[in-house]
Symmetry: C2
Subunit: 205 residues, 2 copies
DNA sequence: TTAATTATAGAGCGATCACTCAAGAACGTG
DNA sequence: CACGTTCTTGAGTGATCGCTCTATAATTAA
């Protein structure tokens, strides 16, 4: 083999991560189809040829954006809380409170990219919508798994319904993302989070 | 004046209401920008010239669709429940249960048109997104008004927060619409509705 | 019948879409 | 230096976008 780490040819004039961040902001704000390649190249500071050489086509760029977003602090806080918190109640309390803090944060577009970036798509881009829908439904399944475990460990009463609770919290979180895009503040969303937690099952006595 | 009700010239070959219904289904399913004029004319059974003569431009057609939708049973059930139910608790219980029944109904596209038809728009169509956002926020204000009245009439305890409750139910409903578009069934959404109602303030004793 | 009016069908407008290509510039290696 | 390789540039591809125009068909009024 020839040297694996040797760089040959003209070096790229742009930072790949920086360009990806610019693309993320656009897709986050306007969604997949409402963001044109022309807007992307302008925001990323590169020409179409460079974009297609570095990221493939528009769909591949979007998937890479979603993948990177899901591994960023803003995009991964749900999975992190599910893993780190010792109790399911603590995990969902933390998820809701962090969503209230993160979704309206003015340092990035409002709401969750995964929830809102492919709501309106043409027939020929249905695959992109399905891609995000699968991510959301996988998240729902993770909620249910965490709640089922909590019930088996005795944290949740036997009468509780882990699947229904998971769907409920998924709906609340998706609604909070929508409300943030409509202008809701962290204060309002925190109140929403607190009310949402009132639905947590209480042990029957 | 000449006769006001007299029809002159060639009569239209299509039914305006039927055409509007076809346009509604498309906008409901794919949203404003992801629905092309070509798809609209094909579904409505008319040519571009007829569409523009009868409805103005694409934006005017969309606004008429939203207006008509808001006056249909499917689009008006929230306002109807707020008016008809004697208690605020009864109103929100009915709203949530009807949302669970209506949003996944296979006789029309899933979810609520007002919630999801203009999530992803280009910069030049920001006005359309603002149009629906204003409708959603007006709905939120109606929730708050209804809850404030309930508190003044003693239905809600003094410690309750009408604004926070309104925002909470708005988020839940928007989340239920999203979940319906992701495949949630009436059964699942009914469970979500029941859990959501657990947050209703209880009188302190 | 003739004129006035309105709706139709179908071609086609400029602009923008995602995307590609050819030419040249910037690098490491001989 | 020349060579191979990679990246940048800028023009330009066909397709589709929202929308308009013209010619003609269908109706009522005179």
């Amino acid at each position: 083999m020839s040297g694996a780490g040797v760089k040959r040819g003209r070096p790229p004039a742009f930072d790949r991560t920086t360009a990806l961040t610019a693309a993320t902001r656009l897709f986050w704000e306007h969604g997949y189809e409402a963001t044109s390649v022309g807007e992307l190249t302008r925001a990323m500071g590169i020409k179409p040829g460079s974009l297609y050489a570095a990221f493939g086509d528009k769909k591949s760029l979007f998937k890479e954006v979603v993948h990177t977003y899901g591994r960023s602090p803003v995009g991964a806080f749900i999975g992190t809380a599910l893993e780190e918190e010792p109790t399911a109640h603590g995990a969902f309390r933390r998820i809701l409170c962090e969503a209230a803090a993160v979704y309206p944060d003015p340092s990035h577009p409002a709401g969750c990219l995964t929830i809102s970036a492919a709501t309106n798509v043409t027939v020929q881009d249905a695959e992109v919508a399905a891609f995000l829908r699968d991510l959301r439904n996988a998240n729902l399944a993770a909620f249910e798994t965490r709640l089922t475990t909590a019930q088996q460990q005795g944290e949740l009463p036997a009468a509780a319904n882990p699947r229904a609770l998971a769907a409920y919290f998924a709906a609340v979180i998706q609604g909070m993302s929508q409300r943030a895009r409509d202008g809701a503040t962290t204060m309002e969303l925190t109140e929403t989070a607190e009310l949402a937690l009132d639905a947590w099952p209480q042990a029957q006595d």
